[in-house]
């Protein structure tokens, strides 16, 4: 019980708390819930890039919202990670345009070269693959995002090179 009821203030730096408080202050006092996206983002950044169970609970309690409400948000948006990811998170779009343009073949690259399915991390801890919905880059389909950088018009070859180039 002790670990799970640790308050958020014990889990994050003073600076992170200040930034979360700044977000909370932007909304009416009884609507702290509105700050959940930012709070999760800030919390994740200080926790090896993922949201642990105690951390989500702490965020919920800090914002005075049901824990499940935080969990819903954390599982809806692909930029939140519920497990410690590899050094690089590769978000591969498999929505309609990308699918038509061959994202299936790109998925195959991950399977064959790294043995991973969406949601998994390569054995060397280098790459985590995420399957995501349309990233509004259909013009460059198929595409993926590495970190915060888009890579468009991918082929199996260009993807292979891209992945190999990640440290």
């Amino acid at each position: 019980m002790s670990a799970e009821t640790r308050p958020l203030t014990d889990m994050l730096s003073a600076d992170a708390m200040a930034r979360i408080d700044a977000w909370i202050a932007k909304f009416p006092a009884d609507r702290k819930r509105a700050a959940v996206l930012s709070a999760l983002r800030i919390a994740q950044a200080e926790n090896d890039n993922y949201l642990s169970e105690p951390l989500m609970k702490a965020v919920a309690d800090y914002l005075e919202i049901p824990r499940i409400a935080v969990f819903e948000v954390a599982t809806f948006y692909t930029m939140y990670h519920l497990e410690r990811p590899g050094r690089h998170v590769v978000s591969l779009c498999t929505n309609v345009s990308c699918m038509l343009a061959g994202s299936d073949r790109l998925l195959q690259v991950f399977r064959e070269q790294y043995g991973i399915e969406p949601g998994e991390t390569s054995a060397d801890g280098r790459i985590t693959l995420k399957e995501v919905e349309c990233m509004a880059a259909c013009g460059g389909a198929p595409m993926c995002e590495v970190g915060q950088q888009y890579h468009e018009n991918l082929t199996t070859e260009s993807l292979t090179t891209l992945l190999e180039g990640l440290d």
Partner: protein, 742 residues
């Protein structure tokens, strides 16, 4: 009122009504899954698409408000096509495992698919599978069957107030789940079983026990709290399989507390008493009714003969039927004693002559949700009367609630003021609150008006208003609809009589209604039938007051008759009660259970039926008389308690025990009421001074309130039953992000 037309019928409708509401009111069936009249509108299943003239595409009936002159077709080609298409989509990921699904036969999806589905699926791809989760002992999950209507999620968010379920994940991966490995712990969780239109959430203990069409349905009433929730008892071949709510807007709407729904398992265990038992030479022996009853009658007669009527007493639980109470008091009074009581949890009887005819809430249950300001005194609604908590939660959408309690309670609604006090401080705090109200009246109305009874000034002068009292007074004196309500915690206080009087005064000064909740399912019936030592049936005067429950249990008593109660667990004086019972010369207990504590101290034990096995009447806290029949026969030789009491009366050769049905008994009670009930009209009297200090017994666990609930293994297995429930206030779901709540 506006005019619309649905399927060629010209109808009047209220501006703002949704198409589906108007259709429902006129018995025009529109298929639906996500819509539920008690929940906000989600409009996420699209099953209710209908054809609206001048609209380019079909519109969801649950989310489309009617407009003047609107012409709607629910079964035109366009509507049917849309409905069929939606049905096909919904079935894409549904496993279609009806033969092994408990919902089969009463499944909304099955019904609608019969009407709108295709015979053959065009979908050949793999279906998604969702791993099941154990969410506790009450609800079985089969989440692959879920169609994501979110009714269960909305129930937690809107009705229960404490969200435990959510829609986790996104798009095709979305599933209904709790947070990580949490279970569903709400005291009203079972309602999601009824809400779920498919077999994703089903009654776990009833799983695989029977098909819907095999079950016989009997109307009944819950005996566990003073709400008197209306039930349907479903049974097969003389066995109760499950209990579901019977809709009654004035009582429980469409909801049940888990205690109402799952308590019947307490009656279906192997621990039922099947034959009368007699203690002979220190050994328990099974016997027949004739011998058992004769022994009981003889024992009672002997106590009276040897010690006089004052040494004989009767104690009944607060959940017996009105008929049982009536016969019990008639029996005792016939034997020459007034010692009869059902108030095993109360500690203060000093003010009992000031009590009204029966304990009453002062406001209709249905109107709780309209209250603008409410003062709760010593009430823990969520654990004591869960259905009332749901009502008051609705009131907090715009109304304000002040709670005064001597322990931390976790409501499922927001309190505007949460006043925590020491147990001994109820009276000074209430007096100070009354002073604050008096100050307000003085400030606002100039000279005091008639609302202030004599002696109040004098009484309150030692209890000036402080800031806290002033701010609470401001809340409870504001608004049109106001109520002061005393809960079980305060009623069990050793100065409960004065607490009630002060609460009554506060209500007068605030212009609020005044009332109380009461113990068990039928305290009101007990008062009305005369199962109290100081009044007979219908409030009739008695020659002299008998002994109250506390006196009987804490001082010596030679003979005791127990009806459906184990005083060592039910009373506020467990140790003293056991000692008294063990020391008594003769104890007879009427109980359904073979593991009743009476086996430790009684001389005769007679097997009786539980609430699903007897006919009877409960009177709820609004004075609503609710009569029900037995759904199944009691097991073995057990008999309904009213019959046992009647025969005892015959054996003791008492007058007026010739009833052949419980209806006759009831008619007898009601006849008395018509004749004299009006006579009891207590006036509020100002106490001369307020006692100080005081104590309360340990509160009862929600699943330990009576002998049946205590034996429901599934309820005992819940986190509430295990006393593992939240140690801190849960974060409540706010209302401001909920649109379209009815």
């Amino acid at each position: 009122m506006i005019d619309i037309e649905i399927d060629g019928k010209k109808l009047k409708a209220e501006q703002g009504d949704m198409i589906i509401e108007v259709a429902d009111a006129h018995d025009i069936r529109i298929p639906r899954f996500c819509y539920h009249k008690k929940l906000s509108i989600a409009a996420n299943c699209r099953m209710c698409l209908v054809d609206v003239e001048n609209s380019r595409k079909p519109l969801p009936a649950c989310q489309t408000p009617v407009a003047d002159g609107m012409v709607i077709r629910t079964a035109s080609a366009l509507a049917r096509d849309a409905q069929k298409a939606v049905m096909e989509f919904l079935l894409i990921n549904h496993p279609l495992d009806c033969p092994i699904c408990d919902q089969g036969g009463e499944c909304e999806l099955q019904d609608v698919a019969m009407g709108f589905g295709r015979d053959v699926s065009r979908f050949t791809e793999g279906k998604r599978v969702v791993a099941d989760k154990n969410i506790g002992p009450l609800i079985a999950t089969d989440m692959t069957r879920c169609i994501q209507c979110t009714r269960c999620v909305r129930f937690g968010r809107e009705i229960a107030g404490i969200r435990e379920l959510g829609a986790v994940g996104r798009g095709e991966h979305m599933k209904i789940s709790t947070f990580i490995e949490q279970s569903v712990d709400s005291e009203v969780s079972g309602n999601i079983i009824d809400l779920c239109p498919v077999g994703a959430l089903t009654d776990k203990p009833a799983r695989f026990k029977a098909r819907a069409w095999e079950m016989r349905q009997t109307d009944s009433v819950s005996p566990h709290d003073c709400i008197g929730a209306n039930l349907h008892v479903h049974s097969v071949r003389g066995k109760v399989i499950r209990v579901v709510p019977q809709e009654n807007e004035a009582v429980n709407e469409v909801w049940l507390a888990d205690r109402d729904r799952f308590s019947h398992h307490g009656l279906s265990g192997s621990n039922r008493l099947l034959a009368p038992m007699l203690r002979q030479d220190g050994e328990w022996r099974e016997t027949d009714w004739e011998t058992g009853l004769a022994a009981a009658a003889e024992g009672l007669r002997k106590v009276v003969a040897n010690h006089g009527g004052v040494e004989l007493g009767a104690l009944a639980s607060a959940s017996c039927t009105t008929e049982e109470y009536y016969l019990l008091q008639k029996l005792m009074r016939g034997l020459g004693t007034q010692n009869i009581d059902h108030r095993l949890r109360l500690g203060d009887f000093s003010q009992q002559s000031h009590e009204p005819l029966y304990p009453e809430l002062g406001v209709d249950l249905a109107d709780l949700e309209l209250l603008e300001s409410t003062l709760l005194i010593g009430a823990d609604l969520r654990k004591e009367q869960p259905i009332a908590a749901l009502r008051l939660r609705k009131a907090t959408r715009s109304g304000r609630v002040v709670s005064i309690h001597d322990r931390q309670v976790y409501d499922n609604f927001d309190l505007t003021r949460d006043i925590r006090i020491d147990t001994g401080d109820y009276l000074p705090r209430l007096a100070s609150l009354a002073s604050a109200l008096l100050d307000r009246i003085r400030d606002q109305d100039g000279p005091l008006d008639v609302r202030v009874p004599d002696g109040v000034d004098q009484l309150l002068k030692d209890y000036p208003a402080d800031d806290e009292a002033a701010s609470a007074a401001e809340i409870i004196a504001t608004g049109e609809r106001k109520a002061v309500i005393v809960g079980l915690g305060a009623l069990e206080h050793s100065s409960a009589g004065h607490i009630k009087r002060m609460a009554g005064l506060i209500a007068r000064l605030a212009g609020a209604s005044y009332g109380q909740f009461s113990h068990g399912g039928n305290s009101a019936g007990a008062w009305l039938a005369g199962a109290i030592p100081h009044r007979g049936p219908a409030g009739a005067e008695v020659s002299s007051n008998g002994l109250d429950a506390k006196t009987m249990l804490t001082q010596q008593q030679q003979g005791l008759l127990l009806l459906n109660t184990e005083p060592g667990k039910d009373s506020a004086w467990p140790e003293a009660a056991r000692q008294t019972l063990e020391a008594a010369e003769f104890v007879v207990s009427l109980t359904p259970f073979a593991d009743d504590e009476a086996f430790d101290y009684a001389d005769v034990i007679l097997p009786v039926g539980g609430f699903t096995e007897t006919s009877g009447t409960y009177v709820n806290v609004n004075g609503r008389w609710q009569t029900f029949r037995g759904a199944v026969a009691p097991p073995g030789q057990a008999r309904p308690a009213w019959k046992v009491l009647r025969v005892l009366g015959n054996l003791l050769e008492l007058k007026g025990f010739e009833y052949v049905s419980s209806e006759e008994v009831l008619a007898n009670v009601q006849g008395r009421l018509d004749a004299e009930g009006e006579k009891v009209r207590p006036k509020w009297q100002c106490p001369e001074e307020l006692p100080t200090g005081g104590r309360v017994p340990d509160p009862q666990n929600i699943y330990a309130v009576d002998h049946i609930v205590r034996r429901s293994a599934v309820l005992q297995a819940t986190s509430d039953g295990q006393d593992r429930s939240a140690a801190k206030r849960p974060n409540l779901s706010p209302f401001h992000n909920i649109m379209g709540l009815p």
